[in-house]
């Protein structure tokens, strides 16, 4: 079965949980910038949590399906509708064959993830359906979705069929996940980080600045990384470093002294000193940062980062069990 993008919007791409196992060949992780949001949306739509969905940047997407589908979106503060009916983040909603699902530009944040029951059925390339827009493979022909484009969606799974029956009357389910999970954007976000691999290569003042001052998101930010403007972060030594691995969350500082927070499409290696690493559970907040936004950073221990991640996984497991009653 097919879905058709009447309008593709500013930047819409197919993403799943990313591509692992090929970093040694220089292949980026890719995947949804907020994998947690996509996992939750997939579970609510009756999919496996790893199904491919759409990552929508700055909205403008209008979609139609050839048959009935359950959709669930989460992310920034977007105005999403089925026809003229508003659909709030996190609520499973039934879109009948031929009806239009639309998502307009956000009041807060910049990205949304849309799970469609059945999942988007583009070919798996190197273990993932994610579009690597920089290298030009995966997703829809290795590029963003275009206006008028059709793409395949797999058959509705049994759980989605149950929801389609159940939501025949009210169309939009009353239940939703915890607010933070479906709406992670913040007005004045603080991102938690653990000390960087190369923090010893910066002057003390740079480390203090990073932990206290505000930084502004620069316009040349994308899925590779968020460029930040703020007090110059000076190094204590000017030596060239050998390239070594970097990862989403790594904050590296080029000679300009302006830090770059790397995201999923970042290169696999980098030669700039790494002042910090934003913790995994805060990457969904980072994924909502828009040009001009102000952001702060605060240091935590790696043990705290792990405890928070484990807590989130346990909560997700509990949530998954709690959903069972809706699929019976």
């Amino acid at each position: 079965m097919k879905a058709a993008a009447i309008r593709a919007g500013f930047l819409t791409s197919v993403q799943d949980l990313g591509r692992t196992g090929f970093r040694e060949f220089g292949v980026s992780l890719g995947g949804a910038l907020d994998t947690h949001a996509l996992r939750v949306a997939n579970l609510l739509a009756g999919n496996d949590e790893s199904a491919a969905g759409l990552e929508i940047t700055f909205g403008g997407l209008r979609l139609r399906f050839a048959d009935d589908r359950i959709v669930v979106w989460s992310g920034g503060d977007f105005d999403a509708r089925i026809g003229s009916t508003s659909v709030a983040a996190g609520h499973p909603a039934l879109v009948r064959a031929g009806e239009e699902f639309s998502i307009e530009s956000p009041a807060l944040g910049c990205r949304a993830w849309l799970a469609i029951s059945g999942g988007i059925d583009v070919p798996i390339v190197l273990g993932s359906r994610s579009g690597d827009l920089k290298a030009g493979f995966g997703g829809v022909k290795g590029r963003p979705v275009r206006d008028g484009e059709e793409f395949p969606v797999d058959d509705n799974p049994p759980r989605a069929k149950i929801l389609i029956d159940r939501l025949g009357g009210e169309k939009i389910a009353r239940w939703k996940p915890p607010h933070d999970w479906s709406s992670p954007a913040r007005r004045t976000p603080t991102l938690r980080y653990i000390r960087g691999t190369d923090s010893g290569r910066f002057v003390e003042l740079a480390l203090q600045f990073f932990n206290n001052e505000s930084f502004f998101v620069s316009p040349d930010s994308d899925r590779m990384g968020i460029r930040l403007d703020g007090p110059r972060l000076e190094r204590s030594e000017e030596v060239d470093l050998l390239s070594e691995a970097v990862a989403p969350g790594t904050v590296q500082v080029p000679p300009s002294g302006k830090p770059i927070l790397l995201l999923n499409d970042c290169q696999t290696i980098g030669g700039y000193p790494k002042i910090a690493h934003v913790i995994t559970v805060d990457l969904p907040i980072a994924a909502q940062l828009c040009p001009g936004d102000r952001v702060r950073f605060t240091e935590v221990s790696i043990a705290d980062a792990h405890a928070l991640l484990l807590e989130r996984e346990r909560n997700l497991e509990q949530f998954r069990r709690g959903l069972e009653s809706h699929f019976k």
């Binding site: 196992g21 040694e24 990862a247 690493h277 995994t280």
Partner: protein, 237 residues
Amino acid sequence: MEITPLGDSALLIRVAQNFDDAPGEALNKVLVTKCDLEAAQIPGVVELAPAYTTVALFYDPPRAIDAGAPIENVFGWIEQRIRQALSNAGEIHADRIKTSLVEIPVCYEQEFALDLDEVARHAGLHWREVVDLHCGAEYRVHCVGFTPGFPFLGGLPRKIATPRRDIPRKEIPAGSVAIGGRQTGIYPIKSPGGWNVIGRTPLRLFDPQKDPPALLRAGDRVRFRAITREEFERSTT
């Protein structure tokens, strides 16, 4: 050996302090380390990626915790398992590392060699001498990265080492063979880049439909062979 966190889901294992003094030795250490860690199958490990003096290990903390890692010290638990795996391994035997010798045909003709004149001028050589030197050496892949499949090759004759261009090009064609400082490399896909382009290969360095997707991996040995424009055309059709 130094093991440091690279965020909460990865760590860096530094097996050599310096690369340039003994690149071959550092590279072999890195490859043996990766090989031993693969064999050790530490619970929660997602993947390993070598680069120059380090091996990066990516892990899934909840999976490590399920396998017995204490929540308050997941990093220490994995670190201990890494040290164990590497101490049991004993001496480094270079023959344990599987590497191949790959010949890369390169057309050095003007149309593809955007900066060959500049490299020749910098070296004070005729362009033919630059090509002879480039083809005469044997290289080793020190690292793959920058773009998918991009090999950073060591072993470039010092005479033709050339600093990167002051202003990087916005677009370098796929297959371009280039010199950046003391390294040479090949651009597998169209991308921006600051290296000096001296030729082009008809080979595909990266093909996502293949497994492995890259023609070269860290440790592989490489030689370049000069080909004519006609041979280039024949190989691409």
